[in-house]
Symmetry: C2
Subunit: 122 residues, 2 copies
DNA sequence: ACAACATATGAATATATGTTCATATGTTAA
DNA sequence: TTAACATATGAACATATATTCATATGTTGT
């Protein structure tokens, strides 16, 4: 982001419009923020993870039940759960041999349901 | 999704809990829907595209100005704009040599700003 | 028609990502 | 302790994706 004043826009001949660029740069999201935002959406940007998160948004489930419902291998599910866990989108608790997972991020619940709404209405 | 009744849950010995799985399957998102939802989030799940969409959410811009602001090559920007265009997240109009792009999806504007909020508050 | 320009696009490349397989870890019941 | 089980994880593989380079397309002004 810039802090200096924007020069007059000499342009209309040039493709790059200095003043417009200058103003726009000030409003631009910081690199680091953009990366973090992308990181969250990337996690929501996979069919398997969408399915898992949608299930977990309704109820707590153990790994093998998730695998059974979405019809994928235990290992694949476990790998995906690790990504979601690391990003703190889901939490889990151990109960004996089993691990019960649930959604741990209300923002994500909301983003997900908006995403689902989005595809329903168009 | 299932339509048949759920059997009694015999479980607690088994890992897979038949009744729970059955109920959960009925609530699960359809494969095709999950894929479409993931598709949208996938588009939001890249740093470059987040930057582009955030700029376009504020004002219409031409390709080379976008490139100047986010400091990337014209070609890279153009390729990304094509993805966004194909998914109808952005629209563009021609004005002579230039192409002016703007955001074309209010859901996406909302998702994006929620995503940005999300990383700000935590 | 030609040169200069803005944008688009195909091909190539490097990197990231998702799934599978084999196996490790840790718990329970006998 | 051992067997059975639920889950986690490393390695390997196949596929997807983002960027760059070179070049094509289409417009404007001379």
């Amino acid at each position: 982001m810039q802090t200096k004043e924007c020069p007059e826009d000499i342009c209309d001949q040039l493709c790059e419009h200095p003043q417009l660029i200058c103003i726009t740069k000030k409003e631009a999201i910081a690199d680091d923020d953009a990366q973090q935002v992308a990181e969250i959406f990337k996690l929501l940007g996979d069919t398997t993870r969408v399915k898992i998160l949608q299930l977990l948004s309704r109820r707590e489930l153990c790994v093998c039940d998730i695998a059974a419902v979405i019809e994928m291998g235990q290992s694949a599910v476990s790998h995906q759960l690790r990504l979601l866990r690391n990003a703190r989108l889901v939490r889990y608790r151990r109960e004996g041999k089993m691990a019960w997972y649930s959604l741990d991020d209300e923002h994500v619940r909301s983003l997900l349901s908006q995403g689902i709404d989005h595809i329903k209405h168009r």
